[in-house]
């Protein structure tokens, strides 16, 4: 009897995370969806005019901002991250491996505000000197986010690479391939689904990152034309204006949240499917 009570109690506890997920979705949607319908989805998604005080809520330039920053980050971080994972799995001497893992751990643990701050004091002046312009830009964002997201990509790709049976490598080596050929032609294709899933998760993380981005993005609501232009990603928009927004303006920020929420959930689900598709093979 007591056992069944305990089991019942535990199952309720286990449902809290699922319950809070629904609660979060419900409240964000409840606040955000009405304003999208009132403004009209076409105007909301495809207008670049964001003038909250004149009741104009168009988030196109921010969507473009988020996308461009994410693309820039992936271009930089995927080769570095997967490279680091290959290094850890095949080439690093034990000492280096023992050093690199805690280093990545700590990189992951450093608060994102600190990354943003370092971006402002180190990276922005560098970009100003070498590329000109104000420095607050897509490029700055991408570099800061690359460093932040690197540990995630490394750890997930390393998992995928280590899941490939050792015999694959040995087989390729026995056929006369160099170690690199074996990795490039045999190991990486075999680990592809795991690495893809990791990259998609990292992408979701990049889109959702706020504090680091807000400090180096420049935050102007304009269509960016080059990677040296300032942007305002969706997350930054919420964090910047939530402090003083009221009424419809606040609802519009929740609507921005709805967009983010949906995109990130879709990416998470895709990542799960991609990871699963690899397992079944």
């Amino acid at each position: 009897m007591k056992e069944r009570l305990i089991k019942g109690g535990l199952s309720i506890i286990a449902l809290t995370s699922l319950g809070s997920l629904f609660l979060i979705a419900f409240f964000i949607f409840k606040e955000g969806i009405p304003i999208i319908l009132r403004v009209g989805p076409d105007k909301f998604f495809f207008s670049t005019n964001w003038r909250p005080f004149e009741k104009e809520f168009g988030i196109l330039s921010m969507i473009v901002g988020s996308l461009s920053v994410t693309c820039g980050t992936l271009i930089l971080s995927v080769p570095l991250g997967v490279g680091c994972a290959i290094f850890l799995a095949f080439f690093a001497p034990t000492l280096m491996r023992q050093l690199l893992k805690p280093v990545l751990e700590l990189l992951f643990a450093i608060p994102s505000v600190v990354y943003g701050f370092m971006g402002v004091v180190i990276l922005i002046p560098l970009i100003q000197t070498y590329f000109g312009g104000p420095g607050y830009s897509i490029l700055a964002c991408s570099i800061v986010l690359t460093i932040m997201i690197l540990p995630v990509i490394v750890s997930l790709s390393l998992d995928a690479i280590q899941a490939v049976p050792r015999s694959y490598l040995e087989g390729a080596l026995a056929l006369g391939a160099t170690k690199w050929q074996a990795i490039w032609r045999v190991i990486l294709p075999a680990a592809r689904s795991g690495i893809n899933a990791g990259v998609i998760l990292a992408m979701a993380g990049t889109i959702g990152e706020t504090m680091a981005v807000i400090m180096v993005a420049g935050n102007s609501v304009k269509m960016p034309h080059s990677i040296l232009d300032a942007v305002r990603p969706l997350t930054a928009n919420i964090a910047l204006e939530m402090g003083y927004a009221t009424g419809e303006h606040q609802e519009a920020l929740f609507a921005t949240g709805v967009v983010l929420f949906i995109v990130i959930m879709i990416l998470n689900v895709i990542a799960r499917f991609v990871a699963k598709s690899g397992v079944s093979k």
């Binding site: 995370s17 964000i28 290959i86 290094f87 280096m96 450093i110 959702g208 998470n268």
Partner: protein
């Protein structure tokens, strides 16, 4: 003409080494830079006095206190829920649809960015439940962020406990619950604690969601319904509004040191655990 495979390999290995050194270099640079710039302004007075002129002068005591306060509230909520869920998933059920639904919910919750959690916390805890900007609302919001992580690391730690121990306990006539409380949990404790300590680290560094739910009052929060500004938020405001670079560096140094201490503590505990069960480091679970 084709390039020689061995040459390509040598070139690429060189590239991989430089990536590794680059990564290590960045970490050392960030920590070193903040500590060198900030540490000289940090003394006991800075840590234990109240701020003056919006933080331009004085110390950071209220912010350290708020950080600890919010973290404790968060742990009180997330640890029982997280460990309970982990026990349920690993000890009380077989893998089935119910488990995978819960895991799926857990993964999705882990994927929600903190700014969205902040929006939710603001509309639900602060407005709807009328908590106002408060330590309680902040703690509840952050606990949602920590929860999936506590579940994951506890589950992993519990699974690492050898089945033979459970079987021995059950064969002596202990009930399932007795086995869990007396055998499984004590053995999994270092692993679970490692997860919790790393969760604390996440709490300490959290900014986006707390700024929307805990507010940014400069005063020392006394009641759980008072607003409180954490160290990370204080650092953000100092740096962003350019109030005082000196104080910003000093606050950053305090933040970095606490993150270092937290991670080293977790590392030591994990080492203990890994040695006992010859497990892959718990550390790497957290990143997933």
């Amino acid at each position: 003409m084709r390039a020689e495979p061995t040459k390509i390999q040598r070139l690429l290995i060189f590239f991989l080494w430089s990536v590794a050194f680059f990564t290590i270099g960045i970490l050392i640079f960030i920590i070193g830079y903040i500590l060198i710039k900030g540490l000289s302004y940090v003394d006991l007075k800075f840590l234990l006095t109240l701020p003056e002129k919006m933080g331009k002068e004085g110390g950071v005591w209220p912010f350290i206190f708020s950080t600890l306060y919010i973290t404790s509230v968060c742990l009180v909520i997330s640890v029982p829920l997280g460990v309970g869920t982990a026990i349920y998933l690993s000890e009380y059920t077989r893998e089935g649809w119910f488990n995978s639904v819960i895991r799926f919910g857990c993964d999705c919750l882990a994927g929600i960015p903190s700014i969205i959690l902040g929006l939710f916390g603001f509309i639900f805890f602060v407005i709807y439940l009328k908590m106002g900007w408060s330590v309680l609302a902040g703690g509840l919001t952050v606990s949602l962020m920590i929860l999936p992580f506590v579940i994951r690391s506890s589950e992993e730690a519990i699974r690492a406990v050898p089945c033979a121990l459970r079987e021995a306990s059950l064969s002596l006539g202990a009930s399932r619950w007795q086995t869990v409380m007396r055998i499984v949990l004590p053995n999994a404790l270092p692993g679970i604690l490692t997860g919790i300590i790393l969760g604390i680290g996440k709490c300490v560094g959290e900014t986006a969601s707390l700024i929307l739910t805990a507010g940014s009052s400069l005063r020392l929060p006394v009641s759980i319904f008072d607003s409180g500004r954490t160290l990370a938020i204080h650092f953000y405001i100092l740096a962003r509004e350019g109030i005082s670079m000196e104080k910003a560096y000093a606050t950053a140094a305090v933040l970095i040191i606490s993150i270092l201490v937290i991670n080293i503590a977790a590392y030591k505990l994990m080492h203990h655990f890994v040695k006992r069960y010859k497990r892959e480091s718990i550390f790497w679970i957290r990143l997933q």
